[in-house]
Amino acid sequence: MLAVRAGDLARLAPLFERHHRALFDYLARMTGNRAAAEDLVQDVFVRILKYRHTFRDDSRFDTWAFRIARNVRADYFQGGQIREIALDEAAEPASGGAGTAEAFELDRQAARVRRALSLLREDQRELIVLARYRGMKYEAIADLLGVEVGTVKVRMHRAIVHLREIFLGLSENEPCSVKQPEKRLLMV
């Protein structure tokens, strides 16, 4: 990134190759919309280029890029007046579509937890996405969010408890979009 900052813009391409999947994953999970995530990843790299001079020598590129991604995501929800996230019908079944009874149960549980996550408050969902899917430790999350590690722990505690309440509250018999995925818009 230091080379990009110095004006060697071609060096942005390897950074894209290395980081676009993680950024896409984060943005897709936060918006519930893969098409939007694709546009937002593009926005992230536009801003990286535009604000490259603000990258500091002691910064980590991935943390810096995720900060930009968080702003892009905030603008997406704010600017577009979108207050709901979609359950993406293109989501892969957790079992990989094996077709057995065990696989069906796995898919059903996964659909439930997917729905529970979509019903979770955005800031709480973000914590779980960062910790569970991005594998970030509390220290890294605290650095990204600009808060103390203790604050992250407290928020994570609330997020998990809240998620479990929602997960357990979802009726076992509710449609869980395992066999016939249905595009649903849910209030966050």
Binding site: H20, D25, E38, F45, G80, V113, K137, I160
Partner: protein, 259 residues
């Protein structure tokens, strides 16, 4: 260890080992309720983990890569245009100097050649300008944000943009749903900062924009143009607790610069 502390440690443990792992395990061995809690949390955490990665498919990756390359090419193009412009300036200066020397030495009569018809060159120039206008306006009306971004970038390549280009940039600043297009419009409008309508539009937009990035870019624009009449607006923004913290800080800076 009490149940409450053990349950807190269990959640910490989901994101790595808790500091007091041995104590937690001792407690779990003795407390059935906490063992059930641990099983429930682990089940939830594992189920979350079964949702596969949301990575882009090959087509999406290809599209993103294409857009990045287009963006880099556009950026490189504008940098190259600047280099060519400065190069041409230097060449023009050198040619003028040589011509002056030649005239001074009285040898112009040997080098003089008939000039091409000026009217023909002017017509070609005009046609090229019209074409650039048309492309710019057309790109700025596209559905794709990437195309609109290109349109804004193209506007910088027009020598004497007509009012409809300036108006299209002002419309993009006020109404484009994509924040990057709005940001690029702020940059593109800088060359028209001598026009009152542009300066007024910037002051209006800084009050209505939702994106902190665009607001900050507009404050920079206003400060650069020295629009002292916007002081009250910047003060209001600086004092408004509803406004994003970074925008307020930039507005405070703007007030200091203009004050």
């Amino acid at each position: 260890m009490q149940c409450e502390a053990a349950r807190e440690a269990l959640i910490d443990g989901l994101n790595g080992s808790p500091d007091d792992r041995a104590e937690v395990e001792r407690h779990l061995a003795e407390c059935a309720a906490c063992r059930a809690e641990a099983a429930s949390l682990t089940h939830l955490w594992d189920t979350i983990g079964t949702l596969g990665p949301e990575g882009p498919d090959a087509a999406a990756t290809a599209r993103m890569r294409d857009r990045l390359e287009a963006m880099l090419a556009a950026n490189d193009g504008s940098q190259r245009s600047r280099r060519i412009f400065y190069g041409l300036q230097a060449m023009a200066a050198a040619v003028l100097l040589a011509l002056g020397l030649a005239l001074g030495m009285g040898i112009a009569r040997y080098t003089a050649t008939p000039a091409p018809p000026a009217s023909e060159i002017n017509v070609m120039r005009q046609e090229l300008q019209d074409l650039r206008h048309m492309i710019t306006l057309s790109l700025m009306q596209q559905q794709s944000a990437t195309d609109r971004l290109k349109g804004v970038s193209w506007s910088g390549q027009i020598d004497a943009p007509r009012n409809d280009i300036v108006q299209a940039l002002l419309d993009a600043l006020a109404n484009d749903p994509n924040v990057n297009v709005r940001l690029a419009s702020v940059d593109a409008l800088e060359r028209f900062a001598d026009r009152e309508v542009v300066r007024r539009a910037a002051v209006d937009a800084v009050q209505t924009q939702m994106s902190p990035l665009v607001q900050i870019a507009l404050i920079d624009f206003i400060v650069k143009t020295g629009e002292r009449e916007s002081l009250d607006v910047l003060k209001r923004i600086a004092d408004d607790p509803q406004v994003h913290e970074a925008v307020r800080a930039r507005a405070t800076w703007g007030v200091q610069m203009l004050g």
